[in-house]
Subunit: 658 residues, 2 copies
C-alpha cells in the first residue's frame, strides 16, 4: 500500500472524523510502538501507528507491539497486556488491523495488565450494501433512500476523481469490523449495469481504496445483463450462451480486481428482471452467477425480497408477508455453495417493528445472509434520532427454530446493512446516525454484544468525554438521547406492528391510509370497529404457520401474540385489551402522546449538553431535533385523529385530539 | 401578413385538424368568393378563402362576399344571406375574420336565404392562460398541469424555432372566438422571468404568429421581477425605483410588441412573491403594473387566488374557501381602470363541483375576469372524457347578486381558461378534449349559448358526419359519450361537492384522505358519523354569508342547500336524507356504481362507432377509455370501501364493496 499524502491521511478537514477523532488515538499515539510483519494490511497498521504517534508525540511510558504470528484464524487476533508491553498477534494483516482498532477502542485500558484474549468475528461476512446510483435517478436521486447528501463513490455520472474520502470511509469501516461492501444500487439502471463490463476501471479504483482497510468490493448486477450489455436475446439461466457470457464477464472482472467479492442481485423484485420470465427458479438464477464466480472464490448474494408489488388491494387472499418464504423455502438444498440467500430481517420491508422473517430458519442447507437497513428509510430518514442497535439485537438473538435452536446471529454466515453513509460532512446527515453504522459493524462482529455497551464504546470514541469538563453528564446525555430512541420512534409512528402508515413514495411522515388502497401489499384494514391483519392459520392468511414452534403457536392467537406485534398478526377490535392491560385504542393514544413527550425531552437533553459537544455537531443535531419534534407531533396528531374519527372512542385522559 | 408556405398552411400533416378539417371548408371552398378591404386580418381572411377554394375547387353556384364596411363594433360582423349572395360585413379585420369562421360553422346553411344578423361577442376579452414553462420544471414538467405532451411555444429551454404550429393554433382559436393568450406559466420560474427583459424576442416571435389570427399576446410575470431581473433591493409597489423599473420594462416590451396585451400575475399565492411582504395591498400591487401598462393600452390580470397554503389542518377556524373574498372584497374601488381581477370560478380550485365564487359579485367597481380550467387537472387529466361546457354554462348563468341581478357572463369583462392544448398530435392528448377548448371559446363569445348546441356545432365541424355512412348514428354516439360526461365523472369521484379526494401532488386518481391532514386547506372531515365542512354562518366558518341573498340563505342550511353542494356547505350524518330522498351514504354508493356503469357504457358506445371516425382518432380515444374505466373502478371501490369501513352502513343493494 502506498501511504502518502491526502490519499491516506483521511478526508478533507471539514469532514467529521466520526468514531476516529485524533483524540481517540491518544493512548496509542503517546506510546512506543512496533509493527512487525509484511503485506498491505500490515503496512496499513504501520501507517496507522505512525499517524497516531505523529499526532500525539509517541515515546511515553508503555509499548505496543503488533506482530504477524501464528495460530489464529484469518481475521482473529490475540491481545496480551503486561505491565511493560501490550501485544497484538495475528496470523494475517486483517487480524492485525482489527487488533489495532481494538486497542484504539480500549484506549488507556489497553495498557493495563490483563490475561490474554483471542478475538474473532462471529460472522465471516460483515457487509454494507450501498444503494448508490452512478447517474442521478430522476426520482430516487444519487443515492436511493439516501439521506446523507451525495454518494461517496459516484458523482456526475462517474466514479469520483478524488477517492481520499473512500479510503477514510474504509478506515471507519475497518474500525467497526466491516469487511465487505457493494458499491451500487440493487436497482441496477442503465449506467450502473455497465460497471460490470466496460466500466470496471471505476469499480477497480474504488476497490483499491477500500482494499487498504480490508474491505472487499462487490457489485450489484442486473440479471438481464447478458441482454442489456451483451446483446443476447435471452438471460435464461439455463441457456449455454448466457452462462458463457457471465463466465467471461466474471473473468474480466477478476482480471481487473483479483480480490473482487462477487455480486448482489435483486431479481424478480419490484420490476427488476429475473429468472421467472424463463420459467426458471431463483436457485437456477443464483447458481448461474455462482457458477461463474466459483473459480475465483466469489459469491453471489441473491436477495429474497421477491413479492407481488402490483397486488390488488381488494384481494385479501394474497399476503406479501408470506411471499419470501413461499418463494424460497421450497428451494432449500438447490443453491450452489457460493450462493448466499440474502434475507431482510423482517417479512415486509424494514418497518420500525416486524417479526423476524420466517425465511431465516427455513433453509438449513442454504447459505444465509441477513439484511438490515442502516439508512433510516422508514425510521426517520436521519432527521429523527433512531438508534437501531436494540432492534437489530432483538433480531439477532431470536431463535427461528425454537428455543433450543440457534440464534439468527448464529445462523447467518453474513450480516448485511444498507449503508447510511454519504458525502455529507457528518457522513450520515445526522451526526447521531453515525452510531447506527458503527453499531452494525460491532453487532456483525459479535451479534451477542449488548447495544448499551456498544453505545458506550461509540460515545467514548466519538465524543472523548474525558476531555470535556463534565464527562459523566456528557455520557448520560448521549445515552439518554440515543438508547431509547427506537422505542420513542415506534411510539409516535405506526402502532403495534401494523407498519406502513407513511407518506407513499418517499416514506417520510405520516399518512395512515397512504398505502391502504395501493398495489404494494401493505394494508392495515382499519375500519370503524377495529384494525390489523389476520395472518393466523385458523382464520387468516396462514403466515403465522410459516414459523417453527413455539413461534407459530405464539403468533397464532391474540392471547399469546406479543402486544408489539399484535396488529401484524391479528385484526382486533379497538376495545381489545392488550397484555399491558390497555385497550388497543388507548394504547394508540397513550404511545403517541408519550412518543412526542420523549422526543421533546430528548431535544431538551441535547440542548443541555451544548457546551460539551463540538459546536458544529451540536448545531446540526439541534437543527434536526426541531424537525423531529415537529414531525413527531404531526405523527401523533394525524394517527390519533384518524383513530378517534374512525373509532369514536374518546381518549381516557381527555387530551387534545383533532 | 405574409401568407406562404408551411408557416401559414397549418401544422405538419400528422397533426390532427381539430375543428377545422379541410372538409369543414367545403361549403365556402366550392363557391365564388370575394374579399374586400385592407389590413393584416383582412389578408388572413383572404388567405383563408383562397385556401378553401384551393381545396374544393371554387367557382360553383352562389357567392360569398366578405367586406370591410361601416357601422359595427370592433369584433362584430353582419351576415346577410340572399339567394344570389352571402355577405359578411365588418368594420375591422377581426370582425371579418370572426364572420368568416361563422360562415365555416354554418356550412351549406350559410348559402340559404335568411334575414340579416349582426353578431358580436358578449365578453370583450376571451383569453387562454398557458401554464407552459420555458425550462422543464423538475416536478411540474414542461407544462404545469399539462396532459398534452410538450408546449406549443417552448422546447429545450427556448421558444420553438418552427412556429408554424403556433399559427395553426391561433387559427383554431380564432375559429372558436378566442382573442388573447398568455404564453407562460403563472408560476414564474427563473428562465421564464426573463421573458420580460432580455428574452422579449422569443415572446415577440410567438406574438407574431398569433397576431395573424387576431390573438393578442400576454405574459405572466413575477412580482419580484425588479429584484430578480433588475437587481433592486425591493419590489415594494410604492417604491419609486420599482415603479420606474416596471415602466422601463413595459416600455421595452411595447417597443418590441406594439400590441402586447399585458401581464398575468399570481402574487402572494402558493409561494409566489407579492405585495404582502411590504405591507401593501393587492390593489397597490396591481396598480403598480397597471400604471406602467396604461400608456400603452395594456392591462394587468391580477389573480385572486390568494390563500394560506400552509394551513394547519388542526385549525378549524381557517377556511380556504373564504380567502379570496376576505382578501379582495374590501379592495373594491381601489384598482386602476386597466387592472382586471381574475377570479377562479369557484372558491377552491377547479373541482368537479364547486359553488360559484362569491368574489364574482362582490366588487362592482372592479374590472373582473373569470378563470376556468380547460386543462383537466382535477377532471381526469385528458385520460377521462369530461366535457366541461355544462359546468361552465351553469357558472356563467349564475346570478351572484340574486335573481334579479346580472349573470356571471354579464359581469365578466373577461373570460379566461387555462389551456389544455399542447404539442400532442391531437392537441389535447385526448381527441375528445378538443371540445373543451372549442366550447370555452364559444361560451366566451356567448355565455348564454346552449352547451348541447355547441357540442352539435363542434361535432359537425370536427367529424363532418354527412360524409360518413351513418351521420345520425355518429352524431348520437358523439353526443352520448360527451354530453353527460361531466355528470359521470362527478358520480364516480368526490361526492356532493366535497372535493379533493385525489392523490396529492399530481391530482390523478383517488385518495380519500390524500389531502385530509395536509396544509392545503382542503378537508372533508369524515368520521364514523358523518362528513362535510360546516361553512354556515350559524355554526360554521361563515363562508355562506359571503354570498348575496338569496344564495346566502339557501346555502345556510341543509334544508335549502342543493344536494350537489351539500357537503361543501355542511357536515351531516351519513343517514342525512337528501332532497333526492336518498341518504348521503346510499347516494355515495349509488353514484359510484352508476358512474362506473356510465363510463363502461360510454366505452361501448365509442366502440360502436368505430367505422364512422378516423381510425387514429378512434384508436386514441379507445385507448383512453381503457384507462378511464380502470380508474373509474378504482375511484368507485376506494371511495365506497372508505365510507363502508368508516360508516359501517351496508349498501342497500348488497353490491360488492371491499
Amino acid at each position: 500500500m502506498v501511504v502518502s499524502g491526502s490519499a491516506a491521511s483521511g478526508p478533507a478537514r471539514d469532514v467529521h472524523p466520526a468514531w476516529l477523532p485524533d483524540e481517540a488515538l491518544r493512548a496509542i499515539g503517546s506510546r512506543r510502538c512496533r509493527v512487525t510483519g509484511t503485506g498491505p494490511l500490515v503496512d496499513t497498521v504501520r501507517y496507522e501507528v505512525e499517524r497516531a504517534r505523529g499526532l500525539h508525540g509517541g515515546g511515553g511510558d508503555g509499548e505496543l507491539r503488533l506482530s504477524i504470528g501464528e495460530g489464529t484464524g484469518p481475521e482473529e487476533f490475540t491481545l496480551h497486556r503486561t505491565p511493560e508491553c501490550t501485544t497484538v498477534t495475528a496470523s494475517t494483516g486483517a487480524g492485525l488491523l482489527y487488533g489495532y482498532f481494538h486497542v484504539v477502542r480500549l484506549g488507556e485500558a489497553a495498557f493495563t495488565s490483563a490475561p490474554p484474549e483471542t478475538h474473532r468475528p462471529a460472522v465471516p461476512l460483515r457487509m454494507l450494501n450501498h444503494w448508490d446510483n452512478v447517474d442521478v435517478h430522476p426520482v430516487m436521486g444519487q443515492v436511493e433512500r439516501g439521506y446523507s447528501g451525495g454518494s461517496l463513490f459516484w458523482q456526475d455520472g462517474a466514479a469520483r476523481g478524488d477517492l481520499a474520502r473512500v479510503r477514510a470511509y474504509g478506515r471507519l469501516l475497518a474500525a467497526s469490523g466491516i469487511n465487505a461492501l457493494s458499491v451500487n444500487n440493487v436497482n441496477v439502471h442503465a449506467a450502473e449495469a455497465r460497471l460490470l463490463t466496460d466500466r470496471t476501471d471505476e469499480v477497480a479504483a474504488i476497490a483499491g481504496e477500500l482494499r487498504a482497510y480490508g474491505v472487499r468490493t462487490h457489485l450489484s448486477v442486473s440479471f438481464a445483463a447478458p441482454m442489456l450489455l451483451g446483446g443476447l436475446e435471452t438471460a435464461d439461466p439455463l441457456d449455454k450462451g448466457v452462462r458463457e457470457w457471465w463466465r467471461r464477464a466474471v473473468d474480466h472482472m477478476y482480471a481487473r480486481i483479483p480480490d473482487f467479492g462477487g455480486f448482489v442481485v435483486k431479481a424478480d423484485s419490484e420490476g427488476q428482471p429475473g429468472p421467472f420470465v424463463y420459467g426458471r427458479s431463483h436457485a437456477d438464477g443464483a447458481n448461474l452467477l455462482a457458477e461463474a464466480l466459483a473459480p475465483h472464490g466469489g459469491t453471489v448474494h441473491w436477495r429474497a425480497f421477491v413479492y407481488d408489488h402490483t397486488q390488488d388491494w381488494r384481494d385479501r387472499t394474497t399476503d406479501r408477508a408470506r411471499a419470501a418464504y413461499d418463494h424460497f423455502a421450497p428451494l432449500d438444498g438447490q443453491f450452489a455453495a457460493n450462493a448466499v440467500l440474502q434475507v431482510k430481517h423482517g417479512p415486509m420491508d424494514f418497518q420500525v417493528r416486524e417479526p423476524v422473517s420466517p425465511v431465516i430458519g427455513a433453509l438449513p442447507r442454504t447459505r444465509l445472509a441477513v439484511e438490515l437497513q442502516a439508512t433510516q428509510e422508514y425510521t426517520g430518514q436521519q432527521r429523527h434520532v433512531c438508534a437501531l442497535a436494540p432492534m437489530w439485537s432483538q433480531v439477532l438473538r431470536f431463535r427461528p427454530r425454537g428455543n433450543g435452536g440457534p440464534t439468527v446471529g448464529e445462523l447467518a454466515g453474513g450480516l448485511v446493512a444498507v449503508s447510511n453513509a454519504g458525502a455529507d460532512p457528518f457522513w450520515m446527515g445526522h451526526p447521531l446516525a453515525q452510531f447506527n453504522l458503527y453499531a452494525f459493524g460491532r453487532l456483525a462482529w459479535n451479534p451477542d454484544a449488548e447495544p448499551g455497551q456498544i453505545l458506550a464504546e461509540w460515545t467514548e470514541l466519538t465524543f472523548t468525554p474525558d476531555l470535556t469538563g463534565d464527562p459523566e453528564r456528557l455520557r448520560a446525555g448521549i445515552r439518554a438521547v440515543l438508547a431509547g430512541s427506537w422505542a420513542t420512534y415506534e411510539k409516535y409512528t405506526a402502532p403495534l406492528g401494523v407498519g406502513f402508515m407513511v407518506q407513499p413514495g418517499h416514506h417520510y411522515g405520516p399518512s395512515v391510509d397512504g398505502y391502504e388502497y395501493s398495489p404494494w401489499g401493505t394494508y392495515h384494514f382499519a375500519d370503524r370497529d377495529g384494525i390489523g391483519v389476520d395472518r393466523s392459520r385458523a382464520t387468516g392468511t396462514g403466515y403465522a404457520s410459516q414459523y417453527a414452534k413455539p413461534w407459530s403457536d405464539m403468533y397464532e392467537t391474540p392471547a399469546t401474540c406479543p402486544d408489539d406485534l399484535l396488529l401484524f398478526f391479528h385484526h382486533v377490535p379497538y376495545a381489545h385489551v392488550l397484555h399491558s392491560g390497555k385497550t388497543v385504542i388507548q394504547h394508540i393514544y397513550d404511545t403517541h402522546f408519550e412518543g412526542v413527550e420523549e422526543a421533546e425531552e430528548a431535544q431538551r437533553t441535547w440542548a443541555s449538553i451544548a457546551g460539551l459537544v463540538a459546536p458544529d455537531v451540536h448545531a446540526r443535531v439541534a437543527e434536526r431535533y426541531v424537525e423531529q419534534v415537529r414531525c413527531a407531533r404531526e405523527w401523533r396528531d394525524q394517527v390519533n385523529s384518524y383513530f378517534l374519527r374512525k373509532s369514536g372512542v374518546p381518549d381516557a385522559k381527555g387530551r387534545t385530539i383533532y
